[in-house]
Amino acid sequence: MTAQRILARQNLGPLFERIARDGRRILAPVRRGDRVAFEPVTRPDEVALDYVQTRTSAKSAVFPPYEPLLRFTLRGADVQADEPPPAAPPTVLFGVHPCDAASFATLAAVFTWDSPDPPFERKRANLTIIGLSCTRGDAYCFCTSVGGGPGDPRGSDILLTPLDDTHFLVEILTERGQDVAQLAGPLLEPHVGNGKEAALARIAPRFDARPLAAKLPALFNHPALWQEQSLRCLGCGACAFVCPTCTCFDITDERDRYHGVRLRCWDSCGLALFTLHASGHNPRTKQSERWRQRVMHKFAYQPERLGVLGCVGCGRCSRACPVDMNLAQHVQQLAETAV
């Protein structure tokens, strides 16, 4: 269904205006000092188009750090509970890289695999993703090791590739992408020729993730291996929080005597008390067990059970880690370890 067009950079402003007039907000990468993060924008000059990667991911657009699930009030012996209307404003996520665009498939696989998840689904239904191919990466990027690439179209409704300083190649990939293309109207010009490949960054694959789903379970009972890899891990939780595919959450009530709200908040399997049972038993008391869980969940359990890889190779975990735990290096080592 892919259609190709050209968009002149100078037409980004009019495109943003048309999107806004259609009642949609635009989330895009914004640079503040040395950090780039996704924020609501109205004008293209606010957008950092030349970034390698943001610190935190765009998963907040569908899975925010905290969101209310229920509000409840106690009246005598009665509890009155209601679901607050979900905040799901029509949104265009503009300028995410292909790794992030691909991450939404993993998020959806987790949040919708067995029961409906209205907070997630309503936000996802109202989200259109305009991806931006990568013209450069850094030492932490490893999308090509996990089935992705700097120009990979998976997950984007529209994918832009900068062909030069003045023009983007526009690939319209889905029906949602078609809707935005229709809004854009004459701003999208006919495309002749190619040039996408030449513009893309070169990210050499470091390992092949596909055999890992079968191989990693065979390494489960190699405690020395997991301890070696995780000895410097502080168990801080930063990796899960910046990760675009991590979905662990905690459900907690904030309340006073008569009113309360039930919240879903980000959590991390790397935190020591994540698996603490009410009985007091904790099946994962060692950081090496928690590290093993993280790797196996992403590279073995999710592929096996949900048919999606739990990692898109964005490298955020490794950039953010205070002690330089480098997931690509670790997984490469596992891929090369004899069973």
């Binding site: 907040s60 969101e67 209310p68 509000r71 905040a87 309340r255 006073d256 009113h259 709200v261």
Partner: protein, 149 residues
Amino acid sequence: MSALEPKIVAFVCNWCTYAGADLTGTSRIKYAPNVRMIRLPCTGRIDFMLLLQAFGKGADGVIVSGCHPGDCHYTAGNFHARRRWTVFRRLLDFLGVDLRRVHFAWVSAAEGAKWAALVNDVTAQIRALGPYTDFPQRLDGRPQPAEVA
């Protein structure tokens, strides 16, 4: 704060200030009704988190009061409290919290008049400062001004 009246929370020790406030009442001294009293055994037990809890639930001002140094029912509780208050005030000030919303006092069981004067003065100050709208509020099911995105 309702349209007109500040809400002030007072964390007071049982042996001195609470008794002093009782004396204010039995002496039939009228004073501003804006204070909600929270009685604790000793100022030494007052965790600074309690003050933040008060602000997080809508208090416009906070008073913390106990026995005079040397008179603590538990001998040294207020000495420890005093050091904690000094450090906590520095932190609040550094964060940009208006210290005029947080008041510390020594009010003994005999100082009924002092308690009334203190509450009247603090209430007037907080009323002049206006409602404390800046401080983030606890998410407890009360309607929030902005929905989480």
